[in-house]
Symmetry: C2
Subunit: 265 residues, 2 copies
């Protein structure tokens, strides 16, 4: 079974805001500082390091010009050690981390492209998913896989208020809007997510709001190592077995994305 060993007490903070001196930049600096006494903190300041988010054929090494399935070929390039150095470096940081923090402003109801592309390029087959589960006959994923055992905190700043992106909010509730990230990316590759850390009305913060938000983040981070994650249902637990959809006898009246949360939370 493929498992990437973590380095104890190591955290990776991925930051995706374009502007030094911004509120997001402040949260990044204060947040990484707040973690430092307890954690060895590595960072991926995607704008600062000029990360290229575009997954392209040149990522595939020898296979760049070979027709075939792009995602599978990325897995082969990973196994052959042919992924670009920039991608390998991000994989190494993620593999080592026990704690992953993803921090970004909500742009068009999702992560900025530079962070979306970090998932596209870094989470390749072989590295993050794809190994078969010998018992189930399907790939290890959704709570399982080479990156299982890690936890992630998503820190997101939103221009909208808590009502607009809350339950039944006009823009959709943030839990659903970020389901492709918390469940589709993180849980898919085995990473537990903590409850979202959201800053609402982030474009209208006054000086004392900023101070309060920094304090709230510091306080959240102080307990991040022991906080109980909210878990989605595990593929291994059988709730989807044979149907690939949630069994009809589980929460039969619901179609919202919350049905994928494990029942024990």
């Amino acid at each position: 079974m493929i498992t990437h060993p973590t380095t104890p007490d190591t955290a990776l903070w991925v930051h995706a805001h374009p502007r030094p001196g911004s509120f997001n930049d402040l949260l990044f600096r204060e947040g990484t500082r707040a973690l430092a006494p307890r954690w060895t903190v590595t960072t991926s300041d995607l704008y600062g390091q000029g990360f290229d988010p575009v997954s392209r054929a040149s990522d595939l090494g020898d296979l760049a010009d070979t027709p075939g399935n792009f995602a599978e070929q990325a897995g082969t390039a990973y196994e052959r050690g042919q992924l670009p150095a920039e991608v390998q470096a991000e994989q190494a940081k993620l593999a080592a981390a026990e704690l992953l923090v993803l921090q970004f402003p909500l742009w068009w109801y999702g992560p900025p492209a530079i962070l979306k592309g970090w998932f596209d390029r870094v989470l390749t087959a072989g590295f993050a998913f794809g190994e078969m589960d010998p018992d189930l006959g399907v790939p290890r994923r959704y709570g399982d896989g080479p990156l299982a055992g890690r936890r992630a905190l998503v820190v997101v700043t939103a221009g909208e208020d808590a009502r607009s992106i809350g339950p039944r909010g006009i823009s959709g509730d943030l839990e659903s809007l970020l389901f492709p990230l918390t469940h589709g990316v993180l849980w898919y590759v085995g990473i537990d997510t903590l409850d979202l850390h959201v800053v609402h009305d982030a474009d209208a913060l006054k000086a004392d709001d900023v101070e309060r938000e920094v304090a709230r983040l510091r306080s959240r981070l102080a307990g991040v190592g022991t906080e109980e994650p909210r878990r989605y249902r595990r593929l291994r637990d059988g709730d989807y077995q044979g149907t690939r959809a949630l069994h009809a006898d589980l929460l039969p009246d619901r179609t919202d994305l919350g049905i994928h949360l494990a029942a024990d939370r």
Copy 2:
């Protein structure tokens, strides 16, 4: 009231797959060809043209180094004609189009970064949203705004099968996964969306499957100008007025994203 006039019978096809010769590339070539008798087709082959999806301070012209709200400053740069030529060119193509086709492979349950960044960079304040509605006292959006009156077809290829991304599917249902795009991007700026055009199991298509999918797309495109769009609720219609969430008396038992569809469909 700001409105961008369309050029009659003009379609813009935005294509976001890295590989010439791929199944997606075939759909792009066949699809644009199928539109040609009825529409004047412009294209944005994002990989082909080397589109840069990273929204950064250098997009802001004079304001690149001025502290302030990034999205607002992009609006100012738009008004001053200082956005990069690459962004202005995409805005001009989108402004002219009556029909928008967005075609992409589903990567990590959303659009590839190169397409996400097309939204981030091209749909600036001023161009796509931000004007106040004098009656409502809020910005014109969700069915209203400078780009209203257009229609969009989302063509998406997915490696997963119809059950996995169908209702209650293990990966979340595709309608919800793409809600940030269909509602959060398109409907926000006033663009009606047609029902999704989905190719399932796209990594496992045999030659006759490919032929069938090309024919199905051509057939869909033949009627795309007269197809009834599925509309989300309009901000102007008052279903969220005063609460920014769907009024408690509308579909009171539901919390899924489908509540935002207009009741008449």
